[in-house]
Symmetry: D2
Subunit: 301 residues, 4 copies
């Protein structure tokens, strides 16, 4: 259970205190505000604030393109046009602020997306809680034998049990020692900023993360992708569900043009053209390497 009763009470209070505003309001997003969506064993994602909606994207586009855009029959068509032609600035006009609780090794991947604002819980200043990510048995995957950066099948029961025992025991022992080192009972007590170095990377941290919609979609494209590590992908998927309710037209265009789309190289396009003319194209006469050809086969089915 990721939330304490106090935290849940805070959320209930915030959700029961509406106020009036003249700003654009997204009904789908209002339904999400403050509520914690559980992710992994102790993590969550929740929306703290947002700015804009589908209409705000169109409004910004219309500032740029003036009266011409009025000819596009509706907002959905305009949004699809913008997404298709990589006109990214109107999507930057929406903003979201999330509160995320996540394991440190996930946070380390996440933070590499630089165009965002972050306030993270400080382990120099405060004491971390005893909460560690311990994978569910079906998420305990073996190293892929074909891909250095991937997972293979789930571990067998015996091996899984061994691994889970190690992860739990090491986490608990390291945390016990963390507490023992910072304690000031009968000793000086090690500085928090030093003691934290004993904590393994599956400990949970939390942060406020604020990002515009364009950069968020870029993050989701990479992190909700099948090649992303499972432990960050589940966060990305939880955010996808939120974005779909926030800006339904933008999210739908994103699914069609980005998540479900693919970029073909000049060489690959030429192969498609040859194949459509009835020519038999093989890896050997395609101009592609074996790796590229395999990926190309995956795309064109």
């Amino acid at each position: 259970m990721p939330l304490t009763p106090d935290q849940q009470a805070d959320i209930d209070t915030l959700r029961s205190t509406p106020a009036q505003t003249l700003r654009a309001v997204s009904p789908g997003m209002e339904a999400h505000l403050y509520t914690a969506h559980p992710v992994l064993d102790h993590g969550f994602v929740r929306v703290i604030d947002y700015m804009g909606d589908d209409a705000a994207i169109c409004q910004a586009a219309r500032v740029s393109y003036g009266k011409g855009t009025k000819s596009v029959s509706n907002d959905e068509g305009l949004i699809r046009y913008l997404m298709r032609h990589w006109h990214s600035t109107p999507f930057e006009m929406c903003e979201i602020k999330l509160h995320v609780k996540l394991p440190v090794f996930v946070a380390r991947q996440w933070i590499r997306h630089r165009t965002a604002n972050v306030n993270e819980y400080s382990a120099r200043y405060s004491i971390l809680d005893r909460e560690f990510y311990i994978p569910a048995p079906d998420a305990l995957a073996a190293q892929s034998t074909t891909n250095n950066q991937g997972r293979g099948e789930a571990l067998s029961g015996d091996e899984a049990e061994r691994v889970l025992r190690i992860l739990r025991d090491d986490a608990m022992r390291c945390y016990d020692h963390y507490e023992a080192m910072i304690s000031d009972e009968g000793q000086q007590g090690l500085a928090r900023e030093l003691a934290r170095m004993n904590l393994p990377a599956n400990i949970y941290t939390q942060w406020y993360w604020k990002v515009d919609l364009h950069n968020l979609l870029h993050f989701l494209r990479l992190r909700a992708d099948a090649h992303a590590q499972y432990e960050i992908r589940v966060y990305a998927e939880a955010i996808c569900a939120i974005v779909a309710d926030w800006v339904p037209a933008a999210y739908s265009a994103f699914e069609d043009y980005r998540m479900g789309g693919a970029t073909l190289s000049s060489t690959a396009l030429e192969c498609v053209r040859r194949m459509l003319k009835g020519e038999e194209v093989t890896q050997e006469n395609s101009g592609m390497s074996k790796g590229e050809w395999r990926e190309f086969q995956g795309v064109i089915g």
Copy 2:
């Protein structure tokens, strides 16, 4: 008059249609929403949307610093502490979206602040309006004789009249020719993206500009400064008045620590220490150049 009746009617409609939200609401900002604050002869600044308030800054800071921050007696004290110690990330948690109408030469200075999102009216796509900035007579300043990048006194009446006539005539003639070149009556009509090159830099453009509070305050520190060009300073001042209503505690700390503050060099601090001990410090024995000494005198009065 910067707004057409249609635009004013749109604003009136938006201002008369409140909705319910669970988000943080800043009453001072709600009063500003959509209303156009006139700047220069045809320009304006108006708030299209915002996210966060003083409490949101503190909330983000408390995520970082945990329970420790609860000891700071109140939000205002915490905000002053953050501003004093350059803890900028909590201020990044607030966001504002402005609609600005401004002369092109002002837009060219403004856009140099890169950490912002912009959608500008496209003169490739649409036809610019016949609106030019013509300075008020008391803003028609002579070149400074002591500072290459500055203004001196206002021009005398005769010279001012000459200059205003030039600015008006050239603007009108260039715009007449712009219209003539793009016209498709009895001719093909030059492409808009080419015809615009004939328009002088005092023509008005407009954009949506979205920025977080930290970067906005940085912009305001530079552009509301006495050394900034008058034509951008009046925009910065109009925004200052809005920010003061939006996040009163943050703006007050900004005024004390940034706008009214000054950075002293190591050498200058040493001079202050010597002077406070009663030593007579002159430029010659200060370790400063003449320019630095003059600026130092300005700071310590």
Copy 3:
């Protein structure tokens, strides 16, 4: 002629004074250093400095992926792999600094690429030169009748002549008045920061522009594209030629995967799969709008 004899002499001196370095050196780039490549009638692009080469991209990738990358047979294969999978950070490890002279209306488009460092000639501080972009007759295009943001055919001889006369006359007259207003002979002389507002957008400015290779390639993809305005496209093309000499493997991968490639939506990919199975796909049964279908036809030939 874009360069004065003094400038050319400076360039000759710089090019005749090699020094020793332990850094990575790109022979193709050394051949470009300082030399001005003419663009448009008075503009140029020249390389002032650079950092890194193809090997530096691979070196950075190998830090990330460790020993695994050694299995990729060569640098070129690794670079193609990185480009294909949008692994952008190794490309960020190369940097280029250009000196560009360009019309103001081109500079206004260019500056919208925010992830770069810029030092532009200041018209607050210094006096602009009497240099204006006047298009060559075959670049004088009519407004497109099918695309609000595009050009159609070249103007006829008569109309072209009329337009060129206007552009030349207005530029000269506005510049005459600029000079007259800032003159301090027999008058106070208007401040430079004000007088510049009388200058049309085809006047030339110049800047130093520094950018990493990843962001440069993104700029080139958008601005060397057939839909970009001709006047910025010629700058992008001049830079493409430089990059091809600087990092030949990266540029070749960029041409294949970006410039010559295309992103197909989920819907478009499904159509390709159906067509390859022999199904007859039309706009009506494609799931695409007319605009999308037309673009799709363009891609698959």
Copy 4:
């Protein structure tokens, strides 16, 4: 010893293979290239590449300010002027690329500086080495009793010994288990991307980090400061020594105006003015809080 014999041999080869270049060369920096400067027990900082020197800063400034800047007698004076007036763009024209080996908890602080390019060793892809930061006894500090985010005195011998034993034992045990989990001998072997979660935050990682001089100086101001955590400060200090050799004039101005300088608030400046007039100013009549007054006393000595 942070380097393997192979790595040292690579460095020796690189340092013994000069090439010719037409670019700006900084002799001070050439002396540093590739050499590893040890930091902490297993870490290092080394320069992989650089762009620009003091003259390049001035050259960029002169593009902006034109002929006016020639009146400043020399480059050093111009650089001091730029630093004093926060003209940051000329400093952005220099760039540095570092190879850094550092503990993960230091990397987590470091990465919060977003305006930089990074390629980090991937623990999804490759196996981390058995190298952990174990503090020297005199760096084992107690938690500060007055500052939540700080250190007090060094731990006593007994307590220090206890802490060091814990840190060493937990690191070794966690690493043993990491190896055991990923081993494929007699079992499937856990995926690397999962096994790494068992490793504590004092394990070493490494990255290439590329940043412009302006943002580097901002980083150094914060991280070479007395309030920064010791373990990141020693990296910042090692980089300071490198920058002082690279761009001596810029570094000297940075020391005077930034590292040794202080920003006084409007209220603090007013107090200085009153004190210089002979008035007795106390915290009570200063208008400052107790915290501010204490900091102010620290600044004016």
